[in-house]
């Protein structure tokens, strides 16, 4: 009759072993997502993004979509450019001015009502624009290795200075145009001074301080994608689609996910991973629908923009 207590004791021991094997902080495999409001945009490509307080501004075609996360309101301000002209990139400087690339050869300051207040011609074609403090960060459209990928300029000063340690990379056997495309830089948002930026094929980010000091962080367990695959895929799998550094300097990374997830036509990534400041993996979740941007990371929750255009939240871990 001592068999039953022995079995119970064994079950307790096994249960406790299982408890130790699964960390309590491990995230669920599929994130529970709650819609907050929207849709705020359709499926057009987001060409630029800036945050200010509780508001996120998105550049969609030639329209700035202002999303007030606190007030759950959306407004759209068309930039007053000619119908055939295009814009790329948004840069908000510390003085509050908002800039974008008009075509390839000019940066323009956009007023709150969409009017263009200032035009600065560029001497070479450019493909990227960001902001860092009071400086605009520019990327040339076509460049050769190993020149700097990004340069900083103040709108009222002509000198351009190298910004960050990111350089244009060389890819043997690949045409210069393609190497330039593979060296295009994307940057995410940050709650601290370092900003996360990355190349499209790499499973790593560069954390760039306002003075340009750069710290490269390889992301544990995230696979890079081969350049020839990236350049020929319909919906290329991108190791890093968006990144956000939270107040504790943890790095949140939105990834495309495995190819089996890519049956959907909606834009976005399917996996959200969290990494410690040194790039060590710290858990991940999968989404039931694709996510385009990490809008905010707040205590207990991550606010995202989904492929269907909704502002939604998922529980943090």
């Amino acid at each position: 009759m001592k068999v039953v207590p022995s079995i119970l004791l064994s079950m307790v021991i096994l249960t406790c072993s299982a408890c130790q094997a699964v960390p309590l902080a491990q995230p669920p495999s599929v994130a529970l997502m709650t819609r907050l409001f929207g849709p705020v945009i359709a499926q057009q490509v987001i060409r630029g993004r800036e945050d200010h307080g509780d508001t996120t501004s998105l550049l969609v075609e030639t329209t700035i979509v202002r999303v007030d996360l606190g007030g759950r309101r959306v407004s759209a301000i068309p930039i007053r450019v000619e119908p055939a002209e295009t814009c790329w990139g948004l840069a908000r400087l510390t003085d509050g001015s908002l800039w974008t690339l008009k075509g390839r050869n000019a940066i323009v300051r956009v007023e709150a009502d969409g009017a263009i207040a200032q035009v600065i011609p560029l001497d070479e074609p450019h493909a990227g624009l960001f902001a860092s403090g009071d400086r605009l960060i520019l990327q040339k459209a076509v460049a050769s290795a190993p020149e700097p990928a990004l340069r900083a300029v103040k709108p009222d000063v002509g000198d351009r200075l190298t910004w960050s340690a990111l350089t244009v990379r060389s890819f043997p056997g690949i045409a210069r145009a393609q190497a330039s495309a593979l060296s295009l830089v994307a940057c995410g948002r940050s709650a601290v001074s370092e900003r996360p930026c990355w190349f499209p094929d790499e499973a790593a980010i560069s954390l760039i301080a306002p003075d340009g000091a750069t710290r490269r962080v390889a992301l544990d367990g995230l696979a890079p994608v081969a350049p020839e695959v990236l350049l020929t895929a319909e919906n290329p799998r991108r190791p890093v689609r968006d990144a956000y550094v939270d107040e504790q300097s943890r790095i949140w990374v939105l990834s495309s996910g495995e190819s089996s997830d890519l049956a959907s036509d909606l834009p976005g990534g399917w996996v959200l991973g969290r990494y410690r400041p040194d790039g060590t993996a710290d858990g991940h979740v999968r989404f039931a629908e694709p996510v385009r941007l990490i809008l905010r990371v707040q205590p207990g929750r991550v606010i995202v923009l989904t492929g269907t255009g909704y502002v939604s939240e998922v529980a943090s871990w």
């Binding site: 490509v45 076509v142 210069r176 393609q178 593979l182 295009l184 695959v229 350049l231």
Partner: protein
């Protein structure tokens, strides 16, 4: 320049020989553009045409590579 443009066109032909559908479209367009540029007699016009091919290609792939 002619050799460089032709080499680039050859490399691109290799890349699009077994394409997944579609960013391949940008690559095919680039290869065609390089091919047309290579047939221009004037050095400077040929060089400028090659640059235009590269700029159009970067525009073509940018939204897929770094757009959100």
């Amino acid at each position: 320049m002619v050799k460089k443009v032709l080499f680039a066109a050859l490399v691109l032909a290799g890349l699009v020989a077994n394409p997944s559908p579609a960013l391949a479209g940008c690559t095919t367009t680039l290869a065609d553009c390089y091919g047309r540029a290579a047939r221009i007699d004037s050095f400077w016009y040929r060089w400028a045409a090659g640059i235009d091919c590269e700029l159009d290609y970067v525009d073509c792939v940018r939204q897929k590579l770094i757009g959100s």
